[in-house]
């Protein structure tokens, strides 16, 4: 196709205009989080890397950044997990299957899966961090033979607040992943482990510092403790990935809201190497 035949080119375009996507399925995960399965209106796969995000729009309400929680190895649809905390997310929770929302993306830099191939992978996810982590977890499980050992540690506050409970059950049974889950505050029905996510490191076998890539995704408070655990296993700083959260308005490196020192999280991130972050002040403080 020559460029002239493309009618889009004669239309004014804008990086801020979202494209429509249909909600195929919606499922309540907890009181706070809703799981969405979506498809772009033109049917094309989103083509994300694990760890990337999209800007989700409700016309008339606003826009907010949300991580992809599904892997590009499952291209028919893409999935989001959204916690309701404010204006846009509240309204998103009130939608129904068949409704249309706006999507911009995939945006930002996700995980470098090529670098991960052949390595042992350790993922540590806390709270809502399991959502972005899930895009990578699915990827690894779908391309399992390309990775070494796979360890997954997941910590939630209470059993009720654990996300993707169906996946949690499946991961427990799945021999392809060495999976451990814990909650800070167990209730009477909880049969699993309790304690903060770092206590799960006891469950891990000896890690090979040169062959392991570690991924940390969770609230800032968790980050410090987990990174210490990982460093204490002599895994180099260049082998630790983490994902940052910031206020984001544009998602394309303009509005300045996501800036951490000289880095725009929406562009260079949200996934970073710890070695890179360490030099950045304010990154996890």
């Amino acid at each position: 196709m020559t460029t002239l035949e493309n009618p889009q080119l004669n239309q004014p375009s804008s990086i801020y205009v979202p494209e429509p996507a249909e909600i195929i399925k919606m499922a309540k995960l907890t009181e706070m989080e809703m799981h969405y399965e979506l498809r772009l209106a033109d049917g094309r796969p989103l083509g994300q890397d694990p760890g990337q995000f999209v800007q989700v729009s409700l016309l008339g309400v606003g826009e907010c950044p949300i991580s992809l929680c599904s892997s590009p190895t499952r291209p028919e649809t893409f999935e989001l997990c959204i916690r309701r905390v404010g204006k846009v997310t509240e309204c998103l929770h009130r939608l129904s299957e068949g409704d249309t929302i706006g999507i911009r993306g995939p945006l930002g830099h996700g995980f470098d899966v090529n670098e991960m191939h052949g390595k042992d992978i350790l993922i540590v996810a806390g709270g809502l961090g399991i959502a972005p982590a899930r895009s990578l977890i699915q990827y690894i499980l779908d391309e399992r033979e390309r990775f070494g050992r796979f360890f997954l540690l997941y910590g939630g506050r209470t059993p009720q607040e654990l996300l993707f409970k169906d996946d949690v059950v499946r991961w427990r049974e799945n021999p392809d992943v060495d999976f451990h889950v814990t909650v800070d505050q167990p209730d009477s029905g909880w049969r699993g482990k309790s304690g903060v996510v770092t206590t799960l490191f006891r469950e891990l076998p000896k890690l090979d510092p040169n062959e392991t890539l570690a991924v940390i995704i969770g609230p800032p408070i968790m980050f410090k403790f987990v990174v210490l655990e990982i460093l204490s296993r002599r895994i180099p700083q260049t082998s630790i990935y983490c994902s940052l959260e910031r206020q984001m308005k544009c998602g394309v490196g303009k509005c300045g809201h996501c800036q951490v020192n000289n880095i725009y999280v929406c562009q260079e991130g949200p996934v970073f190497k710890y070695a890179q972050l360490k030099a950045l002040r304010e990154s996890v403080e």
């Binding site: 804008s14 990086i15 205009v17 394309v252 809201h257």
Partner: protein, 349 residues
């Protein structure tokens, strides 16, 4: 090298003719100060202005603008981008503000190009007027190396002769093809003579003496200086006075941060997504859900602003984020002064 010699009156005649195809925006006196305004009559312009309270940034990147219009009726989804490309001309822009526009040009065109800024910018003709001396006490454009503009204008006018009564002879340099064609098509002025070139050299020599320096180091070392001053008490000590009002951001010719929001029409079925200037000195700028604020203290916000201007923007775009116009210093009720901060940094090492 000069391209042309044009007298002010002739330039204004050309601008008058230009006003048939372009909105003319230039310095207009309002009580004691000058402001960039769109004018109906070129006689309203005063090209001998000292400085304008704000830069012409707002005509390229307005305080609020519509990004797209949408229809949000049940099920349907339509969004039409709104791009503004009405021809306009900035008449009388000083080098500091031209350098600020160059920075905006880079920031908005890198990676994901921002069509909203770029379409306005593409429709803008810029006539620069050089400053033979510092326009007002307190500016430090010379220290920021931005009191000369190498590019970013269509033509630049150097006031080689000024009788102080309104008769001015400009040495004109072309910055773009459009600028060259505009002058040559109208056969305005005359070709520069050997004497004109000599006068221009003399003008530049005098200019070098006419900008007092205010910073005791070369600005190229500022990024390093900042690098070493992250934990200085200077930030906290200065920011104690800060009201976090954001006036410094508002007055800055290179600030381009913004917020995005939706506005519904009365019918609630259609509306606009808009953007609005935002400022990194405002307390909520780096707040995220869960009330976690990554720059919760005025000191960290002040440091962010100075680093952004003095180091990060410069490292990213290759152009200083501060052009030394001192508008932030003049805007600040708390008398927080960037020039004072740059000076205090020199004592840090």
């Amino acid at each position: 090298m000069l391209d042309r010699i044009v007298e002010k009156n002739e330039l204004l005649e050309l601008v008058d003719e230009l006003s048939r195809e372009r909105t003319i925006i230039g310095p207009v006196p309002r009580e004691e100060h000058y402001f960039y305004e769109a004018v109906k009559n070129v006689r309203e312009l005063d090209l001998g202005f000292n400085y304008c309270v704000y830069s012409p940034k707002a005509f390229l990147f307005p305080p609020t603008e519509t990004l797209f219009r949408f229809e949000a009726q049940d099920g349907s989804f339509g969004a039409t981008p709104v791009l503004e490309d009405r021809p306009q001309a900035f008449v009388g822009v000083h080098p500091c503000d031209i350098n600020a526009i160059r920075l905006l040009d880079r920031a908005f065109s890198r990676d994901h190009a921002d069509e909203h800024y770029l379409s306005r910018r593409g429709a803008t003709f810029i006539i620069g007027i050089d400053c033979p001396k510092a326009c007002i006490e307190g500016v430090f454009c010379v220290d920021m190396k931005s009191n000369n503009a190498e590019e970013g204008f269509d033509i630049m006018c150097y006031p080689l002769e000024d009788d102080g009564k309104g008769q001015v002879v400009y040495g004109v340099m072309f910055g773009t093809k459009a600028g060259r064609e505009w002058i040559l098509y109208h056969q305005a002025g005359r070709a520069p003579s050997v004497k004109d070139e000599r006068d221009f050299k003399q003008y530049q020599r005098q200019k070098e003496q006419a900008f007092p320096r205010s910073i005791p180091y070369d600005v190229d070392t500022l990024p390093d200086l900042l690098e070493r001053s992250y934990d200085s008490l200077l930030w906290e000590a200065t920011a104690r006075r800060c009201y976090s009002c954001g006036s410094c951001n508002l007055s800055c010719p290179t600030c381009y941060c913004f917020d995005v929001y939706d506005e519904l029409d009365m019918t609630l079925t259609s509306g606009e997504r808009k953007r609005e200037w935002d400022g990194c000195q405002l307390p909520g700028f780096a707040l995220v859900a869960g009330d976690h604020n990554f720059r919760g203290k005025a000191a960290s916000r002040l440091r962010h602003r100075i680093y952004r201007k003095g180091k990060w923007v410069r490292e990213r775009e290759g152009i200083s984020g501060c052009v030394g116009c001192a508008r932030c210093d003049r805007a600040c009720t708390a008398k927080i002064s960037s020039i004072e901060i740059y000076n205090q940094l020199a004592e840090e090492v």
